[in-house]
């Protein structure tokens, strides 16, 4: 296959989210947006202008945010509950567990500005624990789209899916990778480039960095497979096992702690089904120093060059085993 080429233009995926929400909202009066004073940061201004009564703002009160969302769903509405991912998941985790996941409420949780999108604001505002916190909850799919096209497709899918969803979005600009018209399938990874030396797996804001790292590797004659794995739960077991068996090494990268996130979910499969050398890139179990998301991703070894270097080290480990 031909490798995907990142678009030159960068997109804030929140724009794709609200564009789809407003399009669906025009046809479906049951769609309501729920927020915690986050009209601006969730980009819900357009939705509010169109349907002010359908924008339910509970104020700075995240426990009520999620509980009210569950109640709105019980009353027959289709709530998109929006808030900064750090507060939505951290402050309201027990509401997400009891009111949403355990109650199986048809609520879409939209975590805005996840990862280190609030970079310089510091670790209080970073949401690098949310995969770990949410992916252990039954009934709750966890999805982090890689570009504006996948974001739009995932929002459309979430609206039609009968059950809770956690959609993890960023505000950091990313290039488009997936083709126009892409359909989102829960639990299915997307092959962005094929190769047999190693598999690089990422999601969210890091996927395009993996694509660029694969291009660097290709210049050195190393053909890496690249998978975009937006769905952290349920993990795409088939794609992970195939990657392990066919390429013999897996490098993951995510805008999240190295503990409990995408890499961990993949490692759980690899260990049980097809053990091969693995490395997990992410925030290495520390509170991040001051810096933008882009700076911090580079700092933690997730620049394209840093990823390529980690891939070469991992391929060497693979060779040393044989």
């Amino acid at each position: 296959m031909n490798a995907v080429t990142p678009s030159p233009k960068l997109h804030d995926c929140r724009d794709a989210f609200v564009a789809v929400l407003e399009r669906l909202g025009a046809d479906n009066p049951k769609i309501v947006a729920v927020c915690n004073d986050s009209v601006g940061s969730s980009k819900l201004g357009g939705f509010k202008a169109k349907w002010p009564e359908r924008l339910v703002n509970v104020g700075i009160a995240e426990q009520a945010l999620v509980g009210v969302g569950a109640g709105l769903a019980n009353g027959g509405l289709l709530p998109f509950v929006c808030g900064a991912a750090c507060f939505l998941t951290g402050r309201s985790l027990e509401q997400i567990k009891a009111d949403i996941a355990y109650s199986n409420a048809n609520v879409k949780l939209i975590g805005i500005s996840s990862g280190m999108a609030y970079g310089e604001l510091g670790p209080t505002h970073h949401s690098i624990e949310d995969f770990a916190w949410t992916r252990v909850l039954p009934n709750l799919p966890v999805v982090a789209p890689c570009d504006s096209i996948e974001t739009a497709a995932a929002v459309e899918w979430a609206a039609s899916y009968d059950g809770p969803v956690f959609l993890r979005l960023s505000r950091v600009g990313v290039p488009d990778l997936l083709p126009e018209g892409h359909k989102f399938e829960l639990g299915k990874a997307n092959l962005l480039r094929d190769g047999d030396a190693i598999t690089l797996i990422a999601n969210g804001t890091v996927t395009h960095r993996m694509v660029k790292a694969a291009a660097i590797l290709a210049e050195q004659g190393i053909e890496a497979r690249v998978l975009n794995m937006a769905t952290v739960r349920p993990i795409d077991v088939e794609a992970v096992v195939a990657a392990a068996r066919e390429t013999g090494a897996i490098l993951t990268a995510e805008e999240h702690s190295t503990f409990g996130g995408l890499g961990s979910a993949i490692a759980e499969v690899v260990v049980a089904e097809a053990p091969v050398p693995m490395k997990i890139l992410g925030v290495p179990g520390i509170f991040a120093p001051t810096g933008s998301a882009e700076f911090l991703l580079d700092e933690f070894g997730m620049s394209p060059a840093g990823i390529a270097e980690a891939a070469i080290d991992l391929i060497a480990r693979k060779s040393s085993r044989t």
Binding site: R54, A61, Q63, V68, L72, G75, G76, Y102, N104, A105
Partner: protein
């Protein structure tokens, strides 16, 4: 149904609840006894419900936020026809639908899963707000414990309920004055409740929450603001040696105590 009939049903529910606690060897009998009159008034008089259509879109919503008294709800739901009466005997047994806190995906008539405290009221605010947005005519009722009001999430929801103008929402605080380990007064004393709720913009009615002729009119009261009923109740109400004793939050009667309690409740029948 009139107060006298409701009293009779409440005593029957108390007796069945006591038996189930004794048989299961667990339960939260003190808070169950304090709340049973309120549950009876709701399910046998106030709520517009269809037991054979538990998901009817026009049904009134009831949320048991003090989910640890699930058994009292199960007995009430069984008596009202939502689940078979004989199923109460499975309470806490392996794979029973009736575990220690209610599950809306297993038990017909349960609206949302509760257990951790401070969850029911925010969800009830969402239910009432949904009715406002869709024009539905159902009303939403939520029962919390008084100790439970120490959870900050309740006050987030109380503020939202007033802000949204939810005149279709009724909060009942089961004010039995005791929490798990001590009295409310000796722990984190939020009482008196009325001034606090009024300051948030709610209508407040104070009643004897174990007296049917006060419970029913309070539940049927309609106004232009969200309504809080501060129901003064007795923990362990109806069983003399349990009444207002903190030990009976989740203590299980021994055989002798059980015999006395059954006799007291049966006599009242």
């Amino acid at each position: 149904m009139q107060p006298n009939d409701l009293d009779r049903i409440a005593r029957q529910i108390r007796l069945r609840d006591l038996q189930a606690v004794f048989e299961a060897g667990a339960g939260h009998i003190g808070g169950e006894m304090s709340a049973i009159d309120i549950l009876t008034a709701l399910y046998f008089r106030v709520l517009r419900i269809w037991p054979d259509q538990p998901k009817h879109p026009d049904r009134d919503r009831f949320v048991l936020s003090k989910g640890h008294v699930a058994l009292a709800l199960y007995v009430t739901l069984a008596k009202r026809g939502f689940i078979p009466e004989e199923e109460v005997a499975t309470f806490l047994k392996p794979h029973s639908r009736l575990n220690g806190h209610p599950n809306c995906n297993k038990v017909p008539g349960v609206e949302t899963n509760t257990g951790p405290l401070g969850h029911g009221l925010p969800v009830a605010v969402g239910m009432a707000k949904a009715a406002k947005l869709t024009g539905a005519t159902y009303r939403t009722y939520v029962l919390t414990g008084d100790g439970e009001m120490q959870e900050g999430s309740n006050w987030e929801a109380i503020a939202s309920g007033a802000q949204f103008g939810l005149d279709n929402l009724t909060l009942i605080i089961d004010h039995n004055r005791f929490q798990q380990g001590a009295s409310l007064k000796d722990t984190n004393n939020l009482a008196p409740f009325p001034a606090k709720l009024e300051a948030f913009g709610w209508d407040v009615t104070e009643i004897n929450g174990n007296a049917m002729d006060e419970i029913v009119p309070a539940l049927e009261k309609r106004g232009s603001r969200p309504h809080c009923i501060v129901a003064h109740t007795n923990k362990g109400h109806g069983i003399s040696f349990m009444q207002d004793k903190v030990d009976w939050h989740h203590k299980v009667p021994n055989a002798e105590q059980y015999k006395i309690a059954v006799a007291e409740l049966s006599e009242a029948l």
